[in-house]
């Protein structure tokens, strides 16, 4: 580790420490927004871990997330609470592995289309099973408070950042960057491209499922149509791309402003959230390719500061 790494590590740890104090200041509206932000930070960062280097756009987040909430929904009465996020992670990684094995050896278009309908597919299957067993939605009544969820998510965020940092330094991360630049070159230099992509997709799927499991107590009542809401996938994509996937901190720079904006719009003009989402997508393509990270890089180049 260089001194720079150590400095960054200490700074990040300090930042996490300060942010973790929030529930002592407020447990109402501010904490609720902060929890949402923490949730999207984990989701968007783990999304970018996979989609950033590979340029594959995954729309499967809602499927993994819903899977996680259902793990908690079914298991919270019979199993120890701490085990639920872990079970969710294993199942999420498993689902991601299956999807990845089918689609990731083909071009990116197949992957986008497959993941586009995945949440809806899982929702249909879950609803079907529930109908057959005569079961409807379920109540998740626990003593878990918003503060607990918030701390869990912060811990998860720290873990995802750590994993992302380690992957970036590992052979896997190096392989992925080559794949993202030119898959043919990667294949010719002996990289098992399909395996590398599937592994990373599993990491991101596991993270999303864990977040779902952690957040289930917040919703109290869980049913397939809310747990597998496809909109979540798009929100995550938008936030990650707005921030930029080139750096580990990039998605965070998208999560904070977009969550606030989304909150504002859904309070004052609830019917216009989709329009907002659409405009945000267009903004990314036409005005901000590369997101905030890309903008920062362009400004740096223009003013010639901060040498890399």
């Amino acid at each position: 580790m260089s001194t720079r790494d150590i400095r960054n590590l200490i700074l990040s740890a300090l930042a996490f420490g300060v942010v973790a104090l929030l529930p002592f200041y407020d447990t109402g509206y501010i904490l609720s927004i902060a929890t949402t932000m923490a949730m999207f930070t984990v989701l968007a960062t783990s999304w970018a871990l996979f989609s950033g280097p590979t340029h594959y756009i995954s729309l499967a987040t809602a499927a993994f997330f819903g899977l996680g909430t259902f793990v908690t929904g079914y298991g919270f009465q019979t199993m120890p609470y701490w085990s639920l996020p872990m079970i969710a992670a294993v199942l999420g990684a498993g689902l991601a592995g299956l999807v990845g094995m089918v689609t990731l050896r083909l071009s990116g278009v197949y992957f986008v289309i497959f993941t586009l309908g995945l949440a809806e597919l899982v929702r249909q299957l879950v609803t079907w099973v529930q109908n057959r067993t005569g079961q409807r939605g379920m109540y998740v009544l626990t003593s878990i408070t918003e503060s607990h969820i918030y701390w869990q998510l912060l811990g998860m965020a720290a873990l995802v950042f750590l994993v992302g940092w380690l992957i970036g330094r590992s052979r896997l991360g190096f392989a992925l960057r080559i794949i993202g630049n030119d898959e043919t070159v990667a294949k010719h230099s002996g990289i098992n491209t399909a395996l590398a992509k599937v592994l990373l997709f599993m990491v991101s799927g596991a993270a999303a499922a864990t977040v779902g499991a952690m957040l289930a107590p917040r919703y109290i009542y869980i049913e397939p149509s809310t747990a597998f809401a496809p909109l979540l996938s798009f929100q995550v994509v938008i936030m990650a791309l707005l921030g930029g996937t080139g750096r580990l901190w990039g998605p965070l720079a998208g999560v904070i402003p977009f969550t606030l904006l989304w909150e504002f719009i859904s309070r004052h003009a609830p019917n216009q959230t989709l329009l907002l989402l659409g405009l945000a997508f267009l903004l990314i393509v036409y005005v901000l390719p590369g997101g905030v990270v890309g903008l920062q890089a362009r400004l740096k180049r223009r003013f010639g500061q901060g040498g890399h």
């Binding site: 340029h55 756009i57 089918v102 689609t103 083909l106 071009s107 990116g108 278009v109 197949y110 986008v112 289309i113 497959f114 586009l116 309908g117 809806e120 597919l121 249909q124 299957l125 609803t127 079907w128 109908n131 496809p230 798009f234 791309l241 019917n271 216009q272 959230t273 989709l274 329009l275 907002l276 989402l277 659409g278 405009l279 945000a280 997508f281 267009l282 903004l283 990314i284 393509v285 036409y286």
Partner: protein
């Protein structure tokens, strides 16, 4: 069983038209248009509006819906998508850009449509009588929609196969670079294909609205199905699209009737999975060498 087959074919015929629209946009203009389903819903809305407000038959409405959809889509290509084609460094970069841009367009359209028409479902009763075919009865509107869809699809196929303009379009679909070398204006042909694709899709939407309950946000489901059909039939392959659409129509009807009406997407996914695992190039596509 026979009943399921016929109902499936009737549904598949309309799917074929919609997927042909997408195939023109993706196969010729090389734009993965994820706002395709919204174009369909817009066509359905137009038919609904014309029928309930003016008592004009949705079929007559096609005379207006199709040209308007053509112009709108042509403009979308020229204004929104052409700059992306120009700046793209590779096919992959263009794909990512056009996916994101058309997602944006799709959400913006859903937002605008639910603002204009509200979030509720809409349907109307047109030609709701039954008609007897081989001893079973079917909705007249389904039969009419299927017939019109087949007519348009057949016309499109003939046009693509036997006219100079169709030939130009097929040339661009095969290879834009080589098409340019033989003096084809690739940009103009792409814009034409994109506009035409949009018009065909909106027509399909107006037809499907005669027997299907739509709402502002249902478009993505149709986009999904059209994409699966196009991939199953092979990109740029009209014959494959038609066969794949009929297969999907029958599979969906079978699952809805025999297992559960809530599992139609699952049926589409089973087919999609089979294609991905065994024939990623599509039913009639050639293996890339």
């Amino acid at each position: 069983m026979f009943f399921i087959l016929i109902t499936g074919l009737l549904l598949g015929g309309t799917y074929a038209l919609i997927a042909m629209g997408l195939n023109l946009q993706y196969g010729v203009a090389r734009i993965m248009n994820l706002a395709n389903g919204e174009m369909l819903v817009a066509g359905g809305f137009a038919a609904f509006w014309v029928y309930t407000a003016g008592q004009v038959s949705p079929i007559a409405a096609l005379i207006v819906v199709a040209p308007v959809a053509f112009v709108v889509n042509w403009l979308i290509y020229r204004i929104m998508l052409r700059p992306l084609v120009k700046r793209a460094k590779s096919r992959g970069a263009l794909e990512v850009d056009s996916i994101l841009a058309t997602f944006g367009l799709s959400f913006a359209l859903v937002g605008i449509m639910s603002w204009m028409f509200g979030g509720g479902y809409f349907n109307y009763s047109y030609l709701a009588q039954r008609v007897d075919i081989f001893g079973s009865s079917y909705g007249q509107n389904r039969v009419v929609a299927f017939s019109i869809a087949s007519l348009i699809a057949a016309g499109l196929w003939l046009w693509l196969s036997y006219t100079r303009a169709g030939l130009r379009m097929r040339a661009v679909a095969v290879s834009p670079e080589s098409a340019r070398l033989v003096g084809i204006d690739v940009t103009a042909v792409s814009a034409l294909a994109f506009g035409l694709g949009g018009a065909v899709t909106a027509t399909g939407g107006a037809l499907i609205s005669m027997f299907f309950t739509l709402d502002a946000s249902v478009g993505v489901l149709f986009t999904m199905k059209a994409l699966i059909i196009v991939i199953m039939g092979g990109v740029g392959d009209i014959r494959g699209t038609i066969v794949a659409a009929l297969i999907l129509g029958i599979a969906e009807t079978f699952v809805a009737r025999v297992i559960d009406p809530g599992l139609t997407l699952a049926a589409a996914y089973v087919l999609f999975l089979g294609i991905l695992l065994f024939r990623p190039q599509g039913l009639f596509g050639k293996k890339p060498t």
